[in-house]
Subunit: 376 residues, 2 copies
């Protein structure tokens, strides 16, 4: 399913084939938490901005509209009108970051819904059943996401349990694939590596989960409190123990610089709310660094956001107009900004892929890592 | 400029040619108050929903971003990326409905901005200069919009002044058309008939403004307190005195039923915030009546909003999905609903035009006036 087409040092140019089509990697997954991309983007817009995989959130969709509703509507693809791959997270991260009053035990986690406070239980089997109802292309394993830093002994015990949970996820998904009501019997399971900032736990855990021969592996529990340098260090230490021939997914990351650094270390999949969330506040990514569209200096600026960008927003609208939309609180401003930022992220990945193919990824990295974080 | 292609009793099937293209009438103008359609619709979306004319608001754009900014950016068409006709209202209605503490005199109106409270003066010349800066296709005359009912003597005096204002609008627009900085020297001026609910004032005023030989005439001051029956009565009484060979525009109207009844009486142009505003609250127009997308009964409804509708929303999304988006407060819900409702209104006009052409408008009217207001 995963084919490495070319490598340039540790960076990998690959192709991941699924029942919903083939993904060119490295890839950025565009986040649609509630079965919709924030900023009023339709799935047609998603195609326009070059999205290859849409990511939706298991926890959110379980609460609203309910995964049973999505199942009855034929699964997420049909529900949201998207025929390319969809990855669903496991709910683990949200249970630990959004829900209140959680109690964790061997079976799973009991927590309060962040919407109406009602008590909910979710364990590996529940997460798999929900994701099976959603019928995503890729289901993520149910794990405990620990904040950084956490005590060594807690992290170790948690990772042992997360490993046991992963085995249960695998078994449950196998069982579900044979159930008559299952919409996507070929749903793929990605394991998630945890271990906080402890090298030895990360390595031990990666070795353990690699034995399970899953179609993909994620690095979780990063971008949750540690520095970028710590994150890169963990990738350096852990990735050598991930299977070469499976995609590696760095969850919830990150800035353009973070992504380039992680590709440099051998990561293939990414996702982050940053491009869409920043856009909704008027913060824009360009090939010359970031911009704040609310800035007075754009009031009469007839240029597109980024003259070097080929996105539909930059082809059709001026900075002055987009600034006006933000100042006037017109929703269209958010939509155009989100479209531009997602196009930028998807374009960034396309340029990364090209640079790897042409054996000049180090040059690309040196050229862009600093430029892209510059504030204009 | 206005050519009547066919009549069916009083209903008119026409063609209005401007420097920004030709409009097929009867036509519904899609309202983009702040130089954007609410609900995050782009101008590309507007074309998708069949919009022929976009309407923007002089008062709003004068305050934000400022008509001088729009002028410096090359006028509204370039600013918003729209190459078809744009009509700007005069600011009159907003000055009387939105602004605070207004003082009216022969020269014009002094009022407080609804944004920051600053004191602003607007008279016929100011309105024309602002609209000339905006460079719309059609400028509307600056008038006093009186609420219904108002005392006879006040309405009479007001209409006499509105007539004098119209003469000043015409002179000022003529002067501006010869100014070097004017973006659209062929900007058209539509006069506005007022007179509250008094037949004789309406008729007197329509006769007076007809003498000015303007490219179009509007009926203003309706849908501001009177009943639908009173509105239809005023159209019956007043329109015989409007020039046959000029388009007639019923401002701010209305429901599908109102529009059909007004076309029946000889109206050619309409505009209303109803389709977009209702959509943003989940209220939808269909060929079988109205729907509330928040209704529980749509939770698992796999049908499109309106199975008889050919809009991109009805071709791609289910009621269940759109209901979910509204319940989850995802902006995409509003956008899809606005797209559908505007498509419906534009389609309604297309079907009205067809019915007139085929001499079966009365049948059309009898078939639809009740159906379209039915609540489902």
């Amino acid at each position: 399913m995963f084919k490495i087409l070319h490598t340039n040092k540790k960076a990998r140019r690959g192709e991941f084939t699924t029942v919903h089509g083939t993904v060119q990697t490295p890839v950025f997954q565009n986040v649609g938490t509630l079965a919709a991309i924030k900023g009023a983007l339709s799935t047609e817009d998603l195609k326009t901005v070059g999205c290859q995989i849409e990511l939706s959130n298991t926890y959110h969709l379980h609460l609203r509209p309910g995964d049973d509703v999505v199942h009855d509507m034929g699964g997420l693809h049909k529900f949201i009108n998207w025929d390319r791959p969809i990855l669903t997270d496991s709910g683990g991260f949200q249970v630990f970051s959004l829900a209140g009053l959680r109690r964790i035990c061997e079976e799973g986690v009991t927590f309060n819904s962040h919407i109406d406070g009602r008590r909910i239980f979710m364990g590996p089997e529940e997460s798999m059943r929900i994701q099976s109802n959603l019928a995503s292309t890729i289901a993520m394993a149910f794990d405990e996401c620990i904040e950084n830093p956490s005590p060594y002994d807690y992290v170790k015990a948690s990772c042992e349990r997360t490993y046991r949970w992963l085995c249960r996820c695998k078994d449950e998904l196998m069982r579900l694939s044979k159930e008559p009501g299952t919409i996507n019997p070929q749903q793929l399971l990605f394991g998630i590596n945890q271990g906080g900032t402890y090298d030895d736990i990360r390595v031990w855990h990666m070795k353990k989960i690699s034995e399970l021969d899953l179609p993909g592996y994620a690095i979780g529990g990063l971008a949750v409190g540690e520095t970028a340098e710590q994150m890169y260090h963990i990738l350096d230490v852990t990735l050598p123990y991930a299977p070469e021939d499976r995609p590696r997914y760095l969850m919830g990351v990150g800035t353009p610089e973070n992504i380039i650094e992680a590709v440099w270390r051998g990561v293939d999949f990414f996702d982050c709310v940053m491009p869409s969330r920043n856009a909704r506040h008027g913060f824009i990514f360009t090939w010359k660094g970031t911009m704040n569209m609310m800035n007075q200096k754009y009031e009469r600026d007839p240029l597109p956001i980024d003259p070097d960008c080929g996105c539909p927003v930059c082809r059709n609208y001026s900075r002055a107009y987009i600034r006006h939309l933000f100042k006037a609180k017109e929703m269209l401003g958010m939509r155009l900004a989100v479209m531009h930022n997602l196009y930028f992220y998807n374009e960034l990945m396309a340029k990364i892929r090209e640079a790897i193919e042409e054996d000049r990824f180090e040059e690309f990295k040196n050229k862009y890592t600093n430029v892209l974080s510059r504030r204009n």
